[in-house]
């Protein structure tokens, strides 16, 4: 191989290395978001952590194709979402609701206030479970700050306007169910 060929190969490899995202950085940047997405659906911290690890294992399998992905965030959230949906068929989400509700609270709250808040959260989570599936999923994903409406639409396979409509209906229905 001549010198020009060697140089172009080195450039190509270097370019690829630069373009391929670092897996450690991906874990650092997205593990928290993925954990929350999985936890919102599964309400089980251990299962949510398993989902996060499985997501990054999938990423490792598709590492050569990562450079072709425009926006990694919705892609990763979608993988986590689908894996969590798969697990949700095995794990009943109300199994650990009390523990999760307590775990979601701020540790600085006084005990009596924390107890009342936990009961309230539990009540809302129960009402959420009775919502139609699409509305519930849109509402849970909307809780994630990092996800825009278009990103939620990309995860759920819906348009932006459809997601907005789902969110509105979800809140209305949730309010009605809490009043019952």
């Amino acid at each position: 191989m001549d010198a020009t060929g060697e140089r172009s190969l080195q450039w190509f490899v270097a370019e690829r290395v630069v373009e391929e995202p670092d897996l450690t950085a991906l874990v650092r940047d997205y593990s928290g978001l993925l954990y929350r997405v999985a936890l919102a659906l599964l309400r089980n911290p251990a299962e949510a952590e398993d989902v996060v690890q499985e997501v990054f294992l999938r990423v490792l399998q598709h590492k050569p194709n990562l450079a072709a992905i425009d926006d990694l965030r919705p892609w990763l959230v979608r993988i986590a979402w689908n894996l969590a949906l798969d697990r949700r068929r095995r794990v009943r989400p109300d199994q650990l609701d009390d523990l999760v509700a307590a775990g979601l609270l701020n540790a600085d709250l006084p005990a009596d206030q924390a107890l009342a808040e936990a009961a309230r959260i539990r009540q809302v989570l129960d009402a959420m479970e009775r919502l139609p599936k699409r509305e519930r999923q849109a509402l849970l994903l909307s809780a994630m700050d990092e996800l825009s409406t278009s990103a939620i639409g990309a995860v759920l396979g819906r348009s932006e306007s459809s997601v907005r409509s789902l969110l509105f209906r979800a809140r209305t229905h949730l309010r009605q169910r809490l009043e019952d």
Partner: protein, 226 residues
């Protein structure tokens, strides 16, 4: 009402905020990285992957390969079904033919012939030396004979006469076909005939005053002594 609604909205917001701020368990990142560094266990070879996933990179190729495989399966099953139907029909006809022919094919020893010479009524042929072989030939020919319904035989003369009778003769005459009724009618006719031709009874004897001029003495009665 509004206060309640506000309370519910607050509760919803608190719950969503709690989900939003849920912190991952300590050391999750480290555990995840550790797991990623472990060598991945060799995935078991799956034919499904070969057909739909890893072996074929493009999505449309996967669909095309799956579609082609499905089409081949369908065509194969269709051909197999047709073939099995074709082979079933001769078997049924063979069974029917065997049932019809086997009793007729029982060899009958004809008098005067040697014991090993036997006539097969079904074919009319004689197998002198290998009756068993002939029997198997009969079976095989019956097995491979084409299955057709027996042709309609022509009517006999008696049947034709009956048909003509039924079509032309009046019901009274038809009723006479009953042998009992016919016999009664014949008896009646014989009685009528006999009544008609029997001689009339003898006239009463004349008294003395009215004696006939006939001078001949009356004929002696039978058995009367002279």
């Amino acid at each position: 009402m509004n206060t309640n609604q506000n309370n519910h909205d607050t509760a919803i917001d608190i719950t969503l905020a709690a989900l939003k701020h849920a912190s991952p368990p300590a050391g999750m990142e480290a555990r995840t990285l550790q797991r990623l560094q472990q060598p991945a266990p060799a995935a078991p070879f799956r034919w499904r992957d070969l057909l739909t996933g890893s072996a074929v990179a493009c999505a449309w190729w996967r669909g095309a390969v799956s579609g082609a495989a499905t089409a081949m399966l369908l065509v194969g099953s269709l051909l197999f079904a047709q073939h099995s139907m074709r082979t079933k029909q001769p078997v049924v006809s063979q069974i029917a033919a065997t049932h019809n022919l086997v009793p007729a094919a029982v060899p009958v020893a004809s008098p005067g012939c040697p014991a090993h010479t036997q006539v097969h009524h079904a074919s009319g042929s004689v197998s002198a030396t290998h009756p068993q072989a002939h029997h198997s030939w009969m079976e095989s020919s019956a097995r491979f004979a084409p299955s057709r319904p027996a042709p309609v035989l022509p009517l006999t003369a008696q049947e034709r006469a009956l048909v003509r009778l039924v079509q032309t003769v009046n019901p009274k005459q038809l009723a006479s076909l009953n042998f009992d009724a016919q016999e009664k009618t014949e008896d009646q006719e014989i009685d009528d005939f006999n009544k008609f031709f029997t001689p009339p009874p003898a006239p009463p004897q004349p008294s003395d005053s009215q004696a006939p001029t006939n001078t001949q003495p009356p004929a002696p009665q039978q058995g009367e002594q002279i």
